[in-house]
């Protein structure tokens, strides 16, 4: 979230798409309904009518996988009717930037495409520069090669009629949505976009989000109260676990993982430190070397920086190590050992049968959980013969959240501390203790016996425990960072001397010379003289109270900023665009309100002022996004499994760069009469993820005991299915049973003149428990992914449904 949960109340228009917030984030809805009470309008766009739709002022259906045409039509509507927030677009976005001659777009492909590699040369999407190296701009937005005009041409094809034909949304509904949301382009109005996995789990997932970003920038909705791009994340600490770098491509704090092409720290910094010629761009990632140096010192305090860097494993350039590739490699026998820590991939991974088969290729697996899972017990699951499965499996019992202490970060980036309410049950232990004790044993073995490259293991700072128990406070202090050597630095206008061990007060003071450590730079400031995440103080200034900022309650990264890019909420002089709900304001040479995006004066001060989008190299919101793998502007491609033979917008039926695999478990069926229906997976209120915790909680299981499939009355009649009967769903990858829920919440779509049926299934069930509860919806889902993130396309794929 660029904003936070309470901030939803400040919105004039709440656009929920690809999310069923009322059922899956029920408490978020408290703030949606409160905004409605204050007069806000709510739009819900979804393939299915849900309890979220029930509260919507405007509800529109769309076929799963057609979001980009839906948004493309909105962009076209905004531009055609000149509803943009002009000053914002000119001053704060790259709409005025002029593209180099190399940029082109023809019939679904951007320039720079290499058909053999199925990849783009992104240098073809660069901006034109003047002789000083500065980007050429046209603030009138009239130059035919400026981003604004290129975008206008690009989306001109997405007229209402064409959009309606592909999405299945009636033109009248499109008109209502477009008209309602475009009204937030007025400077004094704000609109927020809330989304969840309905937007991301597609082979165009990132471009779906990009499309929303473009809309929010055109309407001036970024940085303001009641605005922003807000992901409703699905797990209590999935924000934090991402911040702490538990992904192959990033170290903690969003520092790219080094590849073999970056042999030294110097080389890494050369390749990963953006440079700008725009004097007013803060170009915050220009500080990246300080953050990597501080991370290296948090791992290896006694080694020089180059040595610490040499200890980090290097990725092979161009190779994908993401989730789906990991399991594909596992199936190919690439791994001896596997940790499934606090996770249930046998049920959560698209193409579950492939995943479960992959686990038979392992020599050993460690699984850490609270309950039996489909992963830990895969060897005795459906279709498995334990006598033929070699994998040695260890199940380690972990404590529940209130049996241990530590922090988690919510979707609004609030880092909140949890306390111990009871000791760990039985023999279970907090994950922290399990990790600590296991690595102690590994270290002992290497100390005693030596082995392959023991140095990083031997030299890792493993001071994470007190009296042989994992100590979250000690680790939280290291994540915050502290000084390693004495250092005198300018703080405000005065010099301040820091001694070794002193906490670093904020990341602006982190150093690139090895004198500071910080495990995760964005958390610098979270544990200074006290544990900021544990704060329970609701006091706020009158200005902060107007927008429910609560800056003294817990702590938010970065630097306790509650609404990011908030410099875009004020005009170039620092005056709030929305005086009745100001986020920040420049008053008598000082910022008031939220923590601003940097201390500098407003951007009208050409000497000292800075542009608002401080994390982008050139300081501007990126309507044109040249960094993505599949194009700088969102373009419609059908899901890899789809019900139509030709894409009316171009000759490219599917995303030409999508992540795909070619084994026998990866067969796709588009327009295949054996699999005629679009299927989407989703969640219910009473269950969570693969259901391991909720299926084992009696109250919740009683409420939602079995796998079901929602379908329209028309489809049920066609297939002779009655409500409550057992049905079989099948895809090219497998089949499963479900109870039929025949409901008008689902209706057929008319797409390109044909009737297209869609069905929906929850993915919370699994064979371990309850008996006769059903199995994972992911058995049906394809292992294909977005070319930027690798997220699987579980929101749109093709199935058959028949009576059992």
């Amino acid at each position: 979230m660029t904003n936070h949960w309470i901030d939803i109340v400040n919105s004039d228009c709440i656009f929920i798409i690809g999310s069923n917030a009322a059922e899956n984030h029920p408490i978020s809805f408290k703030w949606v309904l409160r905004a409605k009470d204050k007069g806000a309008t709510m739009i819900h766009v979804d393939p299915r009518y849900t309890r979220t739709s029930q509260h919507a002022d405007v509800f529109a259906r769309l076929r799963s996988g057609s979001d980009i045409p839906f948004f493309g039509g909105l962009i076209r509507y905004i531009l055609a009717n000149n509803l943009i927030f002009k000053d914002y677009v000119v001053n704060y976005t790259n709409a005025s930037f002029i593209l180099s001659d190399k940029y082109d777009f023809k019939d679904g492909l951007f320039s720079g495409f290499d058909a053999e590699k199925r990849a783009y040369d992104k240098s073809a999407w660069s901006f034109a520069k003047d002789d000083q190296g500065r980007i050429k701009k046209d603030p009138t937005l009239n130059n035919p090669r400026c981003v604004y005009q290129i975008m206008k041409t690009h989306y001109d094809r997405y007229d209402m009629k064409s959009v309606s034909a592909i999405t299945g949304t009636p033109v009248a509904d499109l008109q209502r949505v477009y008209q309602t949301y475009a009204a937030t382009g007025k400077p004094e109005k704000s609109g927020t976009m809330l989304y969840a996995m309905g937007q991301t789990q597609h082979t165009v997932g990132v471009q779906n989000i990009r499309a929303m970003t473009i809309i929010q920038l055109l309407l001036g909705n970024m940085g303001v109260a009641g605005g922003g791009i807000n992901a409703l994340r699905g797990e209590a600490n999935v924000q934090g676990s991402t911040d702490q770098g538990l992904l192959y491509h990033i170290l903690p704090g969003y520092i790219p993982t080094p590849t073999a092409a970056m042999q030294t720290l110097v080389e890494f910094n050369e390749k990963n430190t953006p440079v700008t010629k725009e004097p007013q761009s803060a170009n915050w990632w220009g500080n990246r070397p300080k953050y990597l140096a501080s991370f290296l010192k948090s791992m290896y305090p006694n080694q020089d920086l180059e040595t610490g860097y040499s200890y980090l494993p290097k990725l092979e350039p161009g190779k994908d190590y993401s989730w789906l590739s990991l399991f594909d490699a596992m199936l190919g026998g690439a791994f001896k050992g596997f940790f499934a820590w606090g996770q249930n991939p046998a049920a959560s991974t698209a193409n579950s049968n492939k995943t479960r088969e992959a686990m038979t290729k392992l020599d050993w697996m460690v699984t850490v959980n609270m309950f039996e899972t489909e992963t830990g017990s895969f060897w005795k699951g459906p279709g498995m013969d334990p006598k033929k499965v070699k994998t040695e499996v260890f199940y380690l019992p972990c404590a529940v959240s209130f049996e241990k202490e530590g922090s988690i970060s919510n979707s609004g980036r609030w880092m909140q501390w949890r306390n111990v309410a009871q000791p760990p049950s039985g023999d279970s232990k907090p994950d922290g203790d399990i990790i600590y004790e296991l690595f102690e044993k590994i270290r002992e073995l290497y100390a005693k016996e030596g082995g392959a490259y023991p140095d990083p293991i031997k030299n890792l700072n493993w001071d994470v425990a007190t009296n042989h128990a994992f100590d979250p406070h000690k680790v939280a202090k290291r994540i915050n960072g502290y000084f390693l050597t004495e250092k005198t630095l300018k703080v405000g206008d005065a010099d301040k001397t820091f001694k070794p061990g002193d906490p670093v007060p904020g990341f602006a003071l982190l150093q690139n010379d090895g004198s500071t450590c910080s495990g995760t730079w964005v958390y610098c400031g979270s544990y200074t003289d006290k544990n900021m995440a544990a704060r329970r103080d609701k006091s706020q200034t009158a200005m902060q109270a107007k927008i429910g900022l609560f800056p003294a309650w817990s702590w938010a990264w970065p630097v306790n900023r509650r609404i990011i890019y908030n410099r875009a909420s004020v005009d170039p002089q620092g005056k709030p665009y929305q005086p009745d709900k100001p986020v920040i304001a420049w008053v008598n040479g000082k910022w008031e309100g939220d923590v601003p995006d940097g201390p500098w004066p407003p951007m009208a001060d050409v000497e000292k002022g800075k542009f608002p989008f401080i994390m982008t190299t050139d300081g501007m919101g990126q309507i044109f996004g040249p960094g993505r793998n599949d194009g700088p502007l969102p373009e419609h491609y059908e899901p890899l499994e789809c019900p139509i033979a030709e894409n009316p917008f171009s000759k490219q039926l599917h995303n030409p760069t999508a992540l795909k695999f070619t084994g026998p478990a990866d067969i796709h069926a588009s327009c295949d009469p054996r699999y005629p229906f679009v299927c989407s997976t989703y969640r219910v209120t009473e269950h969570w993820q693969t259901g391991v915790m909720t299926r084992n909680s009696p109250w919740l299981l009683e409420a939602e005991p079995q796998m079901f499939c929602e379908m329209s009355p028309e489809l049920a009649t066609m297939r002779g299915i009655k409500n409550g009967e057992k049905v079989i769903l099948e895809s090219t990858r497998g089949s499963l049973w479900a109870k039929a829920i025949v409901t008008e919440r689902i209706q057929p779509f008319t797409v390109l003149g044909q009737t297209i049926h869609q069905v929906g299934i929850p993915w919370h069930f699994g064979w371990t428990w309850p008996v006769n509860g059903g199995d994972s919806a992911n058995i049906l889902c394809p292992s294909v992914g977005d070319p930027n993130t690798g997220i699987p396309e579980t929101k749109a794929f093709m199935v058959n449904v028949r009576k059992a």
Binding site: P397, S428, K441
Partner: protein, 191 residues
């Protein structure tokens, strides 16, 4: 967080008074008051945050025997600015994660080709896992890639997890995995 019990009871009492004759035709006040008192008598209140979705709702857990025993109740934290005491069904069922006879509270081991789990001690399991990790790491460690570039990576072990861990646990987990040289480090955020 330590609650002042007298203050809390005063608030609870005020609430029951207001709802005493809520149209049910009979008076639930005594039963409700008794219920409230039972929860608070000899219990200690601790604040926490829900473990399910990412809204981050505040919880109050009540632990019996003045905090030395087990959690006997979990409810929404009325002081928390996001949920203001409210919880969804998942949050409201939190207590059942602590008191739950389906939890597996022993270390289990499944030998190759075995049809059963067997109980083991922590020491036995951690020793054996450490041994397996070392064997797999030493056997699959790659110092240089095909182009002769130093890569220092362990190719034979992969990890997934976990957004269910606290920040501090996630951080030391990544530290351990990266010190061992793993590249295949993934978790829920990807999917």
């Amino acid at each position: 967080m330590e609650w002042n019990r007298r203050e809390f009871l005063k608030i609870a009492g005020a609430t029951t008074a207001v709802t005493a004759f809520g149209g049910l035709g009979f008076d639930l006040t005594p039963a409700r008051a008794e219920g409230q008192a039972a929860k608070l008598k000899f219990t200690k209140q601790t604040t926490s945050v829900c473990c399910y979705c990412s809204v981050g709702c505040g919880l109050i857990a009540s632990t019996d025997k003045d905090g030395k025993g087990k959690v006997v109740n979990i409810e929404g934290d009325p002081d928390h600015p996001i949920n203001e005491g409210a919880l969804c069904p998942k949050g409201a069922s939190h207590y059942q994660l602590g008191k739950n006879d389906r939890r597996i509270l022993k270390v289990l081991y499944r030998a190759p080709y075995s049809e059963n789990w067997e109980e083991k001690s922590w020491d036995w399991a951690l020793d054996r896992i450490a041994r397996k990790v070392k064997e797999s790491r030493d056997g699959s460690f790659v110092t240089k890639d095909a182009k002769g570039r130093v890569v220092n990576r362990c190719e034979g072990i992969a990890s997934v997890g976990s957004a269910a861990m606290d920040n501090e646990e996630c951080w030391i987990y990544q530290a351990m995995l990266r010190a061992m040289g793993l590249n295949y480090i993934e978790h829920q955020a990807r999917i």
